[in-house]
């Protein structure tokens, strides 16, 4: 038991900290002080500077643009970025680096890795994820977007939804039904598909906060070459599920750092309003502190497993459930501290639509209210809390699945 960074990582972090300090002015108060409109460009700029110095994807193998360092370095980088008030990458990195990249490392061909991975790190290619469909949300395996192979090209037809950053993306990894006769889970394939083609139309979806961070993606005879099949044909369910675990697992240690910073800002809000002496507020903050610290420790535990070559497995579902339900409680607390001031949105809106806002964000009511509204989406996206609880009960506790209305669905 030694839940601290190794000496090497500490040295690396120190060096990285020095580098970061040169990127921003001495009186830098955090990216959260930027207006929402300027944030994305700033994040992109910083990411470019990090990339140039080799700080993007450090845990990836050197042959694909990484530095072959352990996952510990990745957490150290994220921690230092937040500490210095800087963005942890750009929005599409979740899909490009954490999800698609990690999956490609596990399932991709050598050719695919060579072709895609370096461009993901450099930011030349931005990725998005095409999983959910209007009729297939929690029940992902019932996806009905089809792909048919013709002369070495997949022809894709159907619709995906809730596709974050699709309007900015160069590529989509899309779960399609390639064998309409196989049982539900068995006829699926994962494809990489370029976005810039006439067969693809993207429509933005305005969400609860009034902003548009999601999209619908319509495929009408969209094409992608056969070599863009990720994993085997009809093995898409396995590949996609592994990918979802990357989505869930990787975030824990890093997310906790952002949540801790957010909680600092909440305390500031309570102090500004003289509510920090109230028993109820104090106890709830103490509970939140414990929760965020536990989140970080769960991240460390997952990291330890990763470092020793074990997978984090279904515990990924716990992290997702943990942080999204925590964030509902935290944002409720922020509303209670605001009191009457929840009535109107004043000041800056958050730059980040899911989870905590950027570090250094002000305590404006518009920020907290928007985060409160958006927190409602976190318990739905990437598997609802209900689906996560099922997963935990089945995969960790060994409880039986529910009897199926239909045990498999021939299509």
């Amino acid at each position: 038991m030694n839940p601290t960074f190794s000496a090497d990582v500490q040295a690396f972090q120190k060096e990285f900290a020095t580098f970061l300090r040169e990127l921003v002015p001495a009186d830098w108060a955090g990216a959260g002080t930027l207006p929402r409109e300027e944030y994305d460009a700033f994040a992109e700029k910083i990411r470019g500077q990090l990339y140039e110095r080799g700080y993007i994807g450090v845990s990836w193998p050197q042959e694909y643009g990484g530095r072959g360092l352990s996952a510990e370095y990745q957490v150290a980088i994220a921690e230092e970025l937040t500490r210095q008030g800087l963005p942890q990458g750009i929005a599409s990195d979740v899909f490009g680096i954490q999800m698609f990249g990690s999956t490609l490392l596990a399932f991709g061909t050598e050719e695919q890795k060579q072709r895609f991975l370096p461009r993901i790190l450099s930011g030349e290619d931005k990725w998005c994820q095409g999983y959910s469909e209007p009729q297939s949300g929690s029940d992902l395996a019932s996806a009905s977007t089809t792909a048919v192979l013709e002369d070495g090209m997949w022809r894709i037809n159907g619709q995906k939804i809730w596709t974050s950053t699709a309007h900015l993306a160069d590529w989509i990894f899309v779960l399609v039904r390639t064998d309409p006769d196989a049982a539900k889970h068995r006829g699926l394939t994962l494809l990489a598909c370029p976005m810039d083609q006439p067969g693809i139309e993207v429509r933005q979806i305005q969400q609860i906060s009034g902003e548009a961070d999601f999209n619908e993606v319509f495929f009408t005879d969209a094409m992608t070459p056969e070599e863009n099949t990720i994993g085997s044909v009809s093995d898409g369910w396995r590949v996609a599920t592994a990918l979802l675990e990357h989505e869930r697992g990787g975030a824990a240690a890093v997310l906790a750092i952002r949540f801790a910073e957010e909680l600092d800002r909440l305390e500031e809000l309570a102090r500004e309003r003289g509510r920090h002496h109230e028993q109820d507020i104090r106890r709830r903050i103490a509970w939140c502190r414990s929760r965020v610290f536990a989140m970080r420790l769960m991240g460390y535990r997952a990291l330890t497993r990763t470092l020793s070559g074990e997978g984090i497995g279904p515990e990924g579902a716990m992290n997702k459930l943990f942080w999204s339900e925590y964030h509902r409680v935290l944002t409720e607390l922020s509303m209670d501290i605001l009191g009457e001031d929840v009535l109107t949105l004043r000041g800056r809106r958050p730059a980040i639509p899911d989870g905590p806002d950027a570090p250094g964000a002000p305590t404006d009511s518009a920020g907290w209210i928007t985060t409160f509204l958006n927190a409602r989406s976190s318990t739905i996206f990437a598997g609802t809390s209900q689906v996560q609880r099922n997963l935990l009960a089945e995969k960790i506790l060994g409880m039986p699945r529910e009897p199926r209305a239909e045990s498999s669905r021939g299509r």
Partner: protein, 368 residues
Amino acid sequence: MQFSFSREQEDLRSSLRDFLSRRSGSEARNRVLKSGYALDRGLWDSMAQQLGLLGLALPESVGGSEAGFLETSIVLEELGRDAYAGPYFSTVAASWVLQHAGEDGATTLEQLASGSRIFTLAIADEGGTWARPGHRTTAFEVADGHRLAGLKVNVTDADTADEFVVVADLPDGPAWFRVAADAPGVSVVMGESLDLTRPIGQLVLQDAPAILVVGPAAAGEILADVNDKAAVALSAEMVGGADAALRQAVAWSLERTQFGRPIGSFQAIKHMSADALVEVETARVLTQYAAWAIDERTPDRSVVASMAKQAASDAFSLAAGNNIQIHGGIGFTWEHSAHLYFRKAKATSALFGTAPQHRDRIADLLAV
């Protein structure tokens, strides 16, 4: 022992529900979502003139029907169910003060009952609440009446109001005044309201001409009364909204299938809905009783008003939150009305005292 509405009251409810489903409803909600708040004046006039909703509890002499607060609460529940976007609560709340103006007020009440003039209350100063407005808005006497100076915050429907009913301090204590929106020295600064159906603004008074409605002798008691009534009125609105959110969730759960069955057949969804039902019914009976208690001026009316407000706030937040969760992705798109209710739940909870504030008040009143 009769804990139920009378036939006449049920008729009022069903005719109003019919009316709203024809004239307002999902179409009006979509309009709010698409193009923002804009008062439907035709609907307003119909509500006032055809249905007599604005004069419901006012004397016949000013065009009212002399019904009670209980009837008003039925109207508010139905408007809440519909997520109606208009200044009904604000105007009715203003009438609770204006009724005390005596003979002078008759013309004003007639205007109010006919819907020709829209009113709202402006009570809280900056840093103040509805129960304790603060003493930062002052009134002074001039030859032809009074002048007011100060800033009122969290004024509901400030942009559509033709006239404000304002608490301001005279040398011998707070009093109630009327201020016309188009008078010199009156300006309104609208905020961005969390509740898309209820605009919120600040009222800036720079030596604005005002008419005294109630002097310091009675003003305090009326303020207490307004706080009780507003708590119950908003509870009724929230009970309607909570019920609508619950029903919307259930309807969707019957329609939406995942894993080959309607999601409404999953225990997780059923139990969430059952729990919301319990909270809605809790809020409903408390609100019903509190409305009766206000009509009867029973000694427990303040404490039951607070009980209703805290219960309705919790019920609406739960039901509206569940509604989003049960809808899944579609539930937090802008174009779906689920978030309209969710926003209303949080915002309405904050008007005239939050749930924790009302629990503190219950403990105080019951001398815990």
